[in-house]
Amino acid sequence: MAYTIEVNGAKRTVDVDGDTPLLWILRDELDLKGSKFGCGAGLCGACTVHLDGKAVRSCLTPISTVASAVVATIEGMAANPVGRKLQAVWMELDVPQCGYCQAGQIMTATELLTRNPNPSDADIDAAMTGNVCRCCTYTRIRAAIKKAALIPSTATSIK
């Protein structure tokens, strides 16, 4: 059936089965490839998106449950002051190796810094542990979150 959802500020309508996970709507119906398929079981965080600002695993979120919740993906983070500064710091500190998990990492980190602008190491552990980086760039992810926490959420942009 038809579902209309708000993704990155735009209303999008898709005609799919209600149990189709949001991840596959984003990737295969809306051509937003930034959210990644890693495990299909909520175990790796590569598919992390925001629903009303809260980080969720889109691979386990049926489209029928999204309703009026506002969906934001990595493609929409340029419009999010916290997401944008994290993207800039991620580039500056050269965090990625293969890069496959990094969209999900940034989505989770954006939620973390939004609700907790000055996280401790323990806060970072608690928030980020659901996001696997197979290349193990954890040292830099931690450093990037701490660095971004020091930057005002206004004056950054992605070149």
Partner: protein, 758 residues
């Protein structure tokens, strides 16, 4: 990260390899007035030889480069190798740009497709990119610069020697004149082509790009979620596929409820694939038996799979299990080895005369690669031609495999290389390419095949398990005088399984007067293959742990015991018997990294650590790199392990090309090794894999990841790669730290925390 210069004990010849034969550089003017430099250089034969077996990198014997300088000064460098997270797409262009003497801000990097005639060897594996390319690519850049200088000098009617370059501009300081490279492209193309063997290279002290922390060229795309990876490919008219293989390796499909599957919503087609129909039949790296389901979207295809009802002939591998392997190995260990890799001195009498004898049995499990991007491939078969968009580490052999499987010509296969969401050696095998092409041919449309995580864990080419039955003898002075290993490994049809071999020179061979490496082989139907630092990732654990046991028995400091074992700085020739500066083992280089890791880790103060907190040390030489590592670990009373800190010291020669990428690789490799030791095993039961997802094969996570300090010792040796060599020593360093903290020796991986309770 720090970089430290040291004088290496054993002086080496310089890295420069004369390229006097089969070298050519071609300079042409391209449309719009730009200059195109194409170079073909012979590969460093010694490295290429070593690679031939490991990578089957194809027939192309040359290492080509491809550089374009546009009239606006923008330099485009084709990146010929697959980017799998090792940073190659940034690092190799840095080398060319440095010698060309251009501003990095004006460099653009484009991913090249597979084209052996144009680009030569194209692969990602074995930490080979640096040793293969560093010297040749410097020469290409330097030759281009020399031609641009010659062009400017001619325009000014001055001697080239009076000209200098900086950031893409040629200067004649005396007359105050300058010309940008972009303005010289047409003229430069007509200048004499320099001899690459003798072209003048920059003094490394003048490097502007090499040695600088340069972020990945695709970082902006990565952090904004732009489509880059194989799984992100979209082709018009594309259908989506899943492929359900027989759960037992080598099993064949007998029947499937095809009609029920094709009736499901969104499903376009479903069919049985029989590997025996492929040509060649039963290529173990190609097609397997299974059922393909093709649908309008991937979710529909994968959901239809829940309704699949197939019957299989599971074949002989169904009788194999990890348990039966362990029993078989123990039984074989009671007898003599089937063969010997080496026998030095008289081990038996030496044990009889030894003051202390230590015996221990070690084992390690099968491991999956678990690259975060599941295996996938997009293929379009049309009129006996196939176009691929493939995340592969070995595109050339992938094309060969597909040509053989489908019975079409290799020249009719096009491979577009995508960024790859992790390789770790998994994508040195191209089974997904064969599958995608086969399915595309069957449905007559472009197809994107995407495996699930469960498919990925259950249908890998695993790091082979192995068993080592060790005995060591110490004399009265605590010196290691005798060592025996009975290695029980795997084979199939009379051949050793892929990545299941041990080198006759495995450390500490040549350093112990009486030494025997024996080997016995068990039949294996499970596919195996290289995993990051193949062989070394397992053998480092075994030998560096056992050496720790011997040090403990000798009452020696584990670090000093190792220094004593290494002895005087000298070069031990590799197992081919033919000297090779990259592959020979320099005990002096290892002594230096070992000594230094002791210094930076506070090794001598380790006795002040609290109870159940301790440090362990280990070293390993692999992929031409010398690494020594210390892990500090705290074992909690319940047995769970907290990784406190890791210190890594490496020697990979005279130059760290991109310190940012280098540090990232080393930190990642160390943490990767720790993750595998703590939470990863693939268990075989009735010929199939027990584990299925990240809850049973556990990657390391943020809350487990300790800080990793990295230091490089700079020595007068050829620069070598960093994708792998930092991994092997971290596993025994952890296990040795656990022993120091608890008195419990880890002899089997993964680590069983239940055995570590206070």
């Amino acid at each position: 990260m720090t970089v430290k210069s040291v004088q290496s004990h054993a002086a080496r010849e310089s890295s420069a390899t004369p390229h006097s034969r089969r070298v050519f550089l071609k300079a042409t003017v391209v449309a719009g007035g730009g200059l195109l430099l194409q170079a073909a250089l012979p590969s460093l034969a010694r490295v290429a030889m070593a690679d031939a077996a490991a990578f089957s990198a194809g027939d192309a014997a040359s290492l080509n480069a491809y550089v374009r300088i546009a009239p606006d000064g923008i330099v485009t460098i084709m990146s010929k190798n697959p980017e799998i997270g090792q940073g190659i797409k940034t690092m190799l262009p840095m080398v060319i740009a440095e010698e060309l003497d251009v501003d990095w801000a004006n460099v653009r990097v484009e991913q090249a497709p597979l084209d052996a005639a144009k680009y030569g060897q194209q692969f990602a594996g074995g930490s080979r990119a640096t040793p293969l390319n560093y010297d040749p690519l410097r020469r290409v850049g330097a030759a281009g610069r020399q031609m641009l200088v010659a062009a400017a000098a001619q325009s000014w009617n001055v001697a080239p020697s009076e000209c200098s370059t900086e950031a893409g501009v040629v200067y004649h300081r005396e007359s105050g004149r300058s010309l940008a490279y972009g303005a010289l492209t047409a003229k430069a193309a007509s200048m004499p082509v320099p001899d690459l063997a003798t072209v003048t290279l920059k003094d490394p002290k003048r490097f502007q790009i090499i040695g600088r922390r340069i972020p990945g060229v695709d970082n902006a795309k990565v952090v904004t979620g732009q489509p880059l990876f194989g799984i992100d490919v979209t082709v018009p008219g594309m259908l989506y596929a899943v492929f359900h293989k027989c759960p037992v390796f080598g099993g064949t499909v007998l029947s499937a409820n095809i009609d029920a599957l094709t009736a499901l919503p969104g499903v376009r087609d479903a069919f049985i694939i029989k590997a025996s129909e492929a040509n060649p039949s039963a290529d173990p790296q190609g097609l397997s038996d299974g059922v393909a389901i093709v649908a309008n979207n991937w979710w529909a295809a994968n959901r239809a799979r829940e309704k699949l009802n197939a019957t299989w002939d599971e074949g002989p591998t169904a009788a194999q299990s990890s348990e039966s392997f362990a029993q078989g190995a123990a039984k074989l260990a009671r007898g003599e080895p089937a063969s010997y890799l080496r026998r030095d001195g008289d081990v038996a009498s030496s044990f009889k005369g030894a003051a202390h004898v230590v015996e221990a049995a070690y084992s390690y499990p099968f491991l999956a690669h678990i690259s975060l991007e599941p295996q996938n491939c997009t293929a379009h078969f049309q009129d006996d031609r196939v176009v691929f968009w493939a995340p592969t580490q070995l595109p050339g052999p992938g094309a060969k495999l597909v040509a053989a499987t489908l019975g079409i010509a290799e020249r009719d296969i096009t491979v577009n290389m995508t960024r790859t969401g992790g390789g770790f050696g998994r994508r040195l095998r191209n089974d997904f390419m064969a599958e995608a092409a086969w399915i595309s041919r069957a449905v007559g449309a472009p197809v994107k095949l995407v495996w699930t995580r469960e498919d990925d864990i259950r249908h890998d080419f695993y790091r082979p398990a192995g068993f080592h039955f060790l005995k060591g003898g110490l004399d009265n002075a605590g010196k290691l005088v005798a060592l025996r290993d009975h290695f029980v490994t795997f084979g199939h049809n009379g051949m050793l399984a892929d990545s299941a071999a041990m080198d006759a020179n495995e450390f500490p061979a040549q350093l112990v007067p009486h030494l025997e490496y024996g080997q016995s082989v068990m039949e294996l139907g499970v596919p195996t293959g290289p995993l990051r630092a193949p062989r070394s990732n397992a053998l480092g654990f075994v030998f560096q742990s056992f050496i720790d046991e011997l040090a403990h028995q000798a009452g020696a400091d584990p670090l000093n015991f190792r220094l004593t074992l290494l002895g005087e700085p000298r070069v031990l020739v590799n197992s081919t018997g033919k000297a090779d500066p990259l592959r020979d083992f320099d005990t002096g280089r290892m002594r230096n990294v070992l000594w230094r890791v002791g210094e930076i880790s506070g090794w001598s103060q380790r006795h002040t650590l609290p109870a159940r907190t301790a440090k362990g040390v280990a070293f390993y030489f692999s992929h031409f790199g010398y690494f020594a590592e210390v892990v500090q670990v705290t074992v909690k009373p319940a047995g769970d392990i907290k990784l406190d800190h890791v210190w890594v010291v490496g020697d990979v020669g005279s130059q760290i090309i991109n310190p940012s990428g280098a540090e990232n690789q080393v930190q990642g490799a160390a943490l990767d090794g720790l993750g595998s030791a703590l939470g990863q095993a693939v268990t075989i039961d009735r010929g199939r894999v027990v584990q299925s997802n990240f809850d049973s094969v556990k990657p390391l996570r943020m809350d487990q990841a300790p800080p990793v300090d990295v230091e490089f010792l700079i020595t007068d040796n050829p620069p070598t790669g960093l994708g792998e060599p930092a991994l092997p020593p971290v596993v025994p360093a952890l296990c040795n730290g656990i022993f120091a903290a608890t008195g419990r020796r880890i002899r089997n991986l993964p680590i069983d925390v239940d055995g570590l309770k206070a």
